[in-house]
Amino acid sequence: MSRIDVESLEKRFDEKAVVHDVSFSVPHGDLCVLLGPSGCGKSTTLRLIAGLEDPTGGQISIGGQDVTHLPAKDRRIAMVFQSYALFPHLSVADNILFGLQVRRVAKDEQTRRLAGVAALTGLTEYLGRKPGQLSGGQRQRVALARAIVSEQPVCLMDEPLSNLDAKLRNEMRLEIRALQQRLAMTMIYVTHDQIEAMTMADRIILMNDGGIEQAGSPSDLYERPASLFAARFIGAPPMNMFTAATRAGLPDGIIVGVRAEHVAIEPAFGRHDDHVVASIEYLGADAIVALRPLADPQGEHVFARVPGSRRPDSGERVTLAWLPHDEHRFDAATGLRIEGGTMTIAPKSVQKG
């Protein structure tokens, strides 16, 4: 079996720790996404697992074997790079077979596997071409085929889709996920795109500043963010945050977060009109409404997600409402989530109604 265990991993470049105290495990056959903003250490972590960088401390094991000091070629991994790294002078077929050739796999075995992988990735017609003659999406498939043909139990992916345009990216992430499940590969997938992480992962490891911010299933991270950082990084638009300063009735030292889709806006009646529609971003299926506090024109916008066909007009005065159980509460000093507690600070209009 090919589970991956990372224990207290650390990497320093000139005294600066770019990865510190990172520990996690990926069970066999799981797809684990390393997610985070650029510079958070996710790519370095992946490269440490691949053996392309030496760790300053900690341990990495693959399938129960300690590989911390093993060179990349001996780790039994496949890797897909952001730039694809296809060899420009070799044909698609030779690119795919490269790993089998250097590992001296028998010729008929090579032929058999090539045919299988080419069919799987839809590259059968393109085997004779050079990478320069392929489109971006096709190159991406070659990189994928080259990784899976090796039949290594572990596949590492470093932002493999970031060079594709939006439509193609959506298609490819479904394909990669389907392949990973079909071939029961253990996969670690690095991305900065939270949508990609949410849609593909069994488990997400959210990184920030070289450390792990939160690890869990996509719905864990979305529904129960462990910190302010996690709450704001995951979800678009970012979670609305309220403090005592911006909303009456909140205790000091607490920050309350509400997702845009949980903010209901109702036409204002008399004294309850506390917000004004500042702008509307139409996205088709739904729209994001930016609301400005009526009392404070410079105040931070509150975002609400409404169905695209039922959106208010710009300048309209509205009242905000949400259900108490949609609130997330954080300690302002530590930024950490506060669990439990029944005290609600939902707007008065809801409490009264």
């Binding site: 903003p37 650029s38 345009d165 939006a166 479904l174 389907a178 900065h192 795109d193 939270q194 949508i195 949410m198 849609t199 996509p218 719905s219 979305y222 529904e223 995951i234 979800g235 678009a236 638009p237 997702r259 845009a260 889709e261 702008s279 971003e281 139409y282 996205l283 088709g284 299926a285 739904d286 994001i288 930016a290 997600r305 169905p307 695209g308 066909s309």
Partner: protein, 337 residues
């Protein structure tokens, strides 16, 4: 202010990049040219800017013919995908460049640069060189540089596509807010349909050098004129005659589908667990499930035809579940087969 493009055609050798295209940008309007790469949108923008000559047709501004006016006399502002700041000049000097050409006094120019940097949210970075700025910052300086000369029209050539997702969305909002505040007529090129919908007053959807549809974002999304638009903007389930054979007859708002057209319905308009009395109720199996945060996307199978359904929040269904769904007749659109 009214920019009017009439019957503009552009040929490169035997290839027709633009085929008799009409576009209008009215006062204060934000118009997007949307389409896949190679559809001619960038060429059109460059013809408006004067950086490319049209093979035929006219470009007029408030009735004055601009077709043969060189780019530098058009008085427009432009921002490119590649930032294109002058690498040897500081941010402040970059912004002041157009003012210097217009011989604006140094003190006045410095004050203007300060105001513009405030406007784009980068106060105090006058002295920095472009390579010391992040991509998003460089692009905001490029916007400030374009605005410095009080342009009659702002042209944006994929200004956001070199930036990463988070920065892209935040800069998109800033550009839009700024444009509304200044009331500056703007023409933007993009291949990102979400960007086009979010930012524009009107979207001109192009394909193969022709205009497929010019409409408001809502018009484009709710009433796509062609199958290309329906597919390019948002997601659309298409049901062909073969699909209807598998899933049974489908009722439309105006009667039963004839089978000579292709039917389309958006994923968020498909109802899960419908009430009594809904039309077109189907039973299906969940094939795959993608959690998207605010919604969950289900890929379901109806007798061998696939339909994508977006359910709000965290849908309880998992792969293999049997579900009942309905296709509300008033939400179904017809396209020529």
């Amino acid at each position: 202010m009214h920019l009017s493009v009439r019957s503009v055609t552009k040929r490169f050798g035997s290839v027709t990049a633009l085929d008799s295209v009409d576009v209008d940008v009215r006062d204060g309007e934000f118009v997007c040219l949307l389409g896949p790469s190679g559809c001619g949108k960038t060429t059109l923008l460059r013809i408006v800017a004067g950086l490319e000559d049209a093979s035929g047709g006219t470009v007029t501004l408030d009735g004055a013919d601009l077709t043969h006016t060189p780019a530098r006399h058009r008085g427009f502002g432009i921002v490119f995908q590649s930032y294109s700041l002058f690498p040897n000049l500081t941010a402040g000097e970059n912004i002041a460049y157009g003012l210097r050409l217009r011989r604006v006094a140094a003190a006045e120019s410095a004050a203007r640069v300060r105001t513009l940097l405030d406007t784009v949210g980068l106060p105090g970075i006058e002295e920095r060189l472009p390579h010391q700025l992040s991509g998003g910052q460089q692009q905001r300086v490029a916007v400030a540089r374009a605005l410095a000369v009080d342009p009659k029209l702002l042209l944006l050539d994929e200004p956001l596509s070199a930036l990463d997702a988070k920065v892209r969305v935040s800069l998109r909002d800033q550009i839009r807010a700024l444009q509304r505040r200044l009331g500056l007529p703007t023409l933007m090129v993009t291949h990102d349909q979400e960007e086009a919908l979010a930012i524009s007053d009107r979207v001109i959807c192009m394909n193969h050098g022709r205009i497929e549809q010019a409409d408001t974002p809502e018009g484009l999304y709710m009433r796509p004129a062609t199958r290309f638009v329906a597919e390019f903007v948002g997601h659309m389930n298409f049901l062909t005659r073969e699909d209807l054979g598998r899933i049974g007859p489908i009722r439309l708002a105006g009667g039963e589908a004839s089978g000579t057209t292709v039917l389309g319905i958006r994923p968020e308009h498909v109802r899960l667990s419908p009430d009594e009395g809904c039309g077109n109720v189907l039973s299906a199996n969940v094939v795959s499930r993608q959690f998207l945060g605010a919604t969950t996307r289900l890929d379901v199978d109806v007798n061998g035809s696939r339909i994508v359904v977006d359910a709000p929040g965290v849908a309880p269904h998992v792969e293999g579940d049997a579900v009942i769904l309905a296709l509300p007749p008033e939400r179904i659109r017809e396209f020529p087969a």
